[in-house]
Symmetry: C2
Subunit: 127 residues, 2 copies
C-alpha cells in the first residue's frame, strides 16, 4: 500500500478539535464490540497504515502515541472503513489484552442505568 | 429519569470542536453494527434523554437536529454507555430504515481496499 496515496484518496475532512486538525477514530474488535474512540492527525493515520498497528493523537499530551506502547496492549489493524462525510474512520483490530487503561476490555464499560453511572460486566466490558 | 440530574452524574468532558463544547456520540444497532458517529452538545443530549430519540448537534448548520426529522429514519434509544474519559457516549438504538443520508444502512459503507475507497455491501452497509 502506498500510504501517501491512500491517505490522499481517503479525502478526509479534518476537524478543528482542541485547536488541531484531527479526525475521529472508532476502534472495534472482530466481533463488532466498540473498544474505544480517539483522535488521529494525519501523521497518526500514516503511522497506523505503515506499521499495521494503531496509532492515535493525544490532545492532552499533544503528541502521537502508539496504542499499547507502555501496556503492551497493542491493536493490530485488520481492515478499515470511512464514513460518508470523511471525518471518521472505523478500524477493525485484533486487540491484545484489554483496550482500556482502566483494565476493562472496552473503554465503554460505564453503563447508565436509572440515571446512574455503573461499571458493568455486560456487553462492553468483555469479549 | 431526571435528565438534568443524569447529565450531571455523567460527568462529561466536553471537547472544543469547531469552536463548540461537544462530545462524541457513536450510535450502534442492537447487533453491534456501528451506524454513525456525530457530535452532541448538552442540549442534544438532554433532548435525546427526554424524548427517547436521538438528537445530535450539526457543526455545519450550527444547530440541534433530531435524527430522521426529514427522512423519517429515526433512532429510538435503547441504552447507552460512557467511555472512561467522558468525552464520548455509545448509544444502542433501534434504527428505522437506514442511518446514512446516502441511502446505506451505516455511514461507514466505504471500505478501503488495496488503497482504494470502495462502496461495499459487506459488513457495514447492511443489517
Amino acid at each position: 500500500m502506498d500510504v501517501e496515496d491512500t491517505v490522499k484518496k481517503l479525502n478526509l475532512k479534518f476537524r478543528n478539535i482542541e485547536g488541531e486538525r484531527l479526525i475521529l477514530a472508532i476502534t472495534c474488535d472482530e466481533n463488532k464490540n466498540v473498544l474505544m474512540v480517539a483522535f488521529m492527525n494525519e501523521e497518526a493515520l500514516k503511522k497506523t497504515l505503515e506499521t499495521g498497528y494503531m496509532h492515535y493523537y493525544s490532545t492532552s499530551r499533544k503528541k502521537l502515541w502508539r496504542k499499547g506502547e507502555e501496556s503492551g496492549n497493542v491493536q493490530k489493524l485488520i481492515k478499515f472503513y470511512r464514513d460518508c462525510d470523511g471525518d471518521a474512520l472505523l478500524f477493525i483490530v485484533e486487540q491484545k489484552g484489554v483496550a482500556c487503561h482502566e483494565g476493562y476490555y472496552s473503554c465503554f464499560h460505564y453503563k447508565i442505568e436509572d440515571g446512574e453511572l455503573k461499571i458493568t460486566g455486560e456487553y462492553y466490558s468483555k469479549r
